[in-house]
């Protein structure tokens, strides 16, 4: 894949050098981040709209935060502290699947259960970080928490590409079943959907995407980008195709502008923060549109 990345980068850098593209395109790390952004946007747009419909925002937040514990475990067992993917994927999947398994076997409300799991995960993570703090500097943890385009390398791009392909391969054919299972499990059963299985699959997909996006957006803010574009799209959408298309557009726009704007205007903010601020501005705009324009008042219910 490196040859493909180099091919795209060389062309964009040539265009930037000839003045056809803005100056930030001259930097390799900006182009890496933008390539990630065009994958992340559609991924988060499709998945985020379903997270919103399934009311799983708090769940995805907890998975993002669990990644911090995954980083600490990775450093502890000797993984590269810049890309501890084995530990992040491993711990986050374990966290998410255990949480889902427990949800099916308790009468506790979902938010209560997620709160309990999140607290446990953070407590373990904080304790482990004490042990590993000598091995890593604060900038590494900062990039995990809030994202950093400087840290994105070919490994991260390959991981993101792999996760995108996996989501398309598994998620698209089962999209209707996953959505139906949360809207009305009885109807889903009648249509032959294996409700339990697709619920677990969705949890796995959310976890994979969350971890794959960490380098760009950060553990604290990845859930925001999963949710805000979908929420903004919902303000101005009446139908499912409209919701998903707008969520994809808003997520991609937020990523691209969030990466380029700080570079272009020399604003020293983390990428994750900038991306989420752009998404939040779009959300505010769509909320105003819904409140003031009569054609959007009937959007959703």
């Amino acid at each position: 894949m490196s040859a493909l990345y180099d091919f795209i980068r060389n062309h964009l850098q040539a265009l930037a050098a000839s003045g056809l593209l803005p100056q930030p395109f001259e930097y390799e790390f900006v182009i890496n981040a933008l390539l990630c952004a065009v994958l992340i946007g559609p991924l988060l747009g499709v998945l985020g709209s379903m997270v919103m419909i399934k009311r799983m925002a708090f769940f995805s937040q907890s998975v993002g935060n669990a990644a911090m514990t995954g980083v600490a475990i990775g450093v502890l067992i000797g993984e590269s502290y810049t890309s501890p993917y084995f530990s992040m994927f491993g711990f986050c999947l374990l966290f998410a699947l255990t949480l889902k398994y427990t949800q099916h076997r308790t009468t506790l409300a979902n938010d209560t259960l997620i709160g309990v799991f999140l607290s446990i995960s953070l407590a373990v993570g904080a304790s482990l970080l004490l042990f590993v703090s000598a091995k890593i500097n604060t900038h590494v943890m900062e990039s995990v928490l809030f994202g950093s385009i400087l840290a994105v390398d070919h490994t991260d791009m390959n991981v993101l590409l792999g996760v995108t392909a996996l989501c398309a391969l598994l998620g698209l054919p089962l999209y209707n079943g996953m959505l139906l299972a949360s809207l009305n499990p009885s109807l889903a059963h009648a249509r032959g959907v294996r409700v339990r299985s697709v619920e677990y699959l969705f949890v796995v997909l959310v976890t994979l995407v969350t971890v794959a996006c960490l380098k760009i957006i950060g553990a604290v803010l990845v859930e925001a980008l999963l949710l805000i574009p979908a929420a903004a799209a919902r303000n101005i959408s009446r139908s499912l195709p409209g919701l998903v298309a707008r969520a994809i557009l808003i997520a991609t726009f937020s990523c691209v502008v969030g990466i380029l704007a700080p570079m272009q205007f020399h604003i020293p903010v983390p990428t994750g923060g900038a991306i989420v601020i752009v998404a939040a501005l779009v959300f505010v705009a769509t909320t105003v549109m819904r409140a003031t324009a009569s054609r959007f008042r009937g959007a959703s219910v």
Binding site: S49, N176, L187, S300
Partner: protein
């Protein structure tokens, strides 16, 4: 061709420590229009959910001779989240096709869905948000999805609740037409007059089977069972 027979054999089910069904056994004949009657909390919906494979239970639920078409099912209305931005067409696409619903439907699927909506008297509502419909309209849409594609087993959980009188007649006529084609229909129903008018066979349950037989022999009233 006729729809499948359904056999409930010593089905028992507990919810939160409370016995909802206790040794329920009866048979719905192939191609029958069978009504399930009983008081609120008597276990009718739980029995149907056991049939759909949604409720863990003891005993066996068998569908004998089922063909490959999906089961048509009309759920009780309160089960649906009204706040999802989804049109009637989206819902039909979600239920009736493999292609992700957010990518829209192909021409054939659109035509089939439009025909099903027309048959249940809601032809003009395809582009409306599902959550904005009245209870009766939503019930008709749910009935439309249950008959598209044409099922051989149709399970109805109070499909006429909230529907006006012309709507009830339309649902009855549609069900009679499907029954005439050999579709097996299991209908949860509270209206004893309607049951006597349309059903071929009836089972009354209140945790246990209280009656199973022909509708004109139902010596039963909901008050008595409670």
């Amino acid at each position: 061709m006729r729809g499948p027979a359904i056999v409930f054999d010593e089905v028992s089910l507990q919810l939160g420590g409370t016995k909802v069904l206790d040794d329920v056994s009866f048979r719905v004949e192939a191609g029958a229009l069978h009504c399930l009657v009983g008081p609120n909390g008597g276990g009718k919906t739980s029995l149907v959910r056991a049939l759909l494979g949604q409720m863990p239970h003891s005993g066996t639920v068998r569908v004998e001779g089922e063909v490959t078409t999906p089961r048509g099912y009309v759920p009780q209305l309160p089960d649906f989240d009204r706040n999802v931005p989804m049109t009637v067409n989206d819902l039909m696409a979600l239920l009736g096709q493999r292609r992700p619903a957010f990518l829209g439907s192909n021409r054939a699927a659109k035509a089939a869905n439009a025909e099903a909506l027309a048959r249940t008297g809601v032809a003009g509502l395809g582009a409306k948000p599902f959550g904005s419909l009245s209870g009766g309209q939503r019930q008709r849409v749910l009935l439309a999805q249950a008959i598209s594609p044409a099922p051989w087993l149709l399970i109805l959980d109070e499909p006429t609740a909230g529907i006006d009188e012309p709507g009830v007649r339309l649902v009855e006529a549609l069900v009679a037409e499907l029954h005439g084609r050999g579709v097996t229909i299991l209908w949860i129903n509270h209206d004893l007059e309607q049951v006597r008018r349309i059903a071929q066979s009836v089972t009354v349950i209140n945790r246990r089977v209280l009656f199973h037989g022909a509708p004109d022999q139902v010596a039963y009233s909901l008050e008595g069972a409670q």
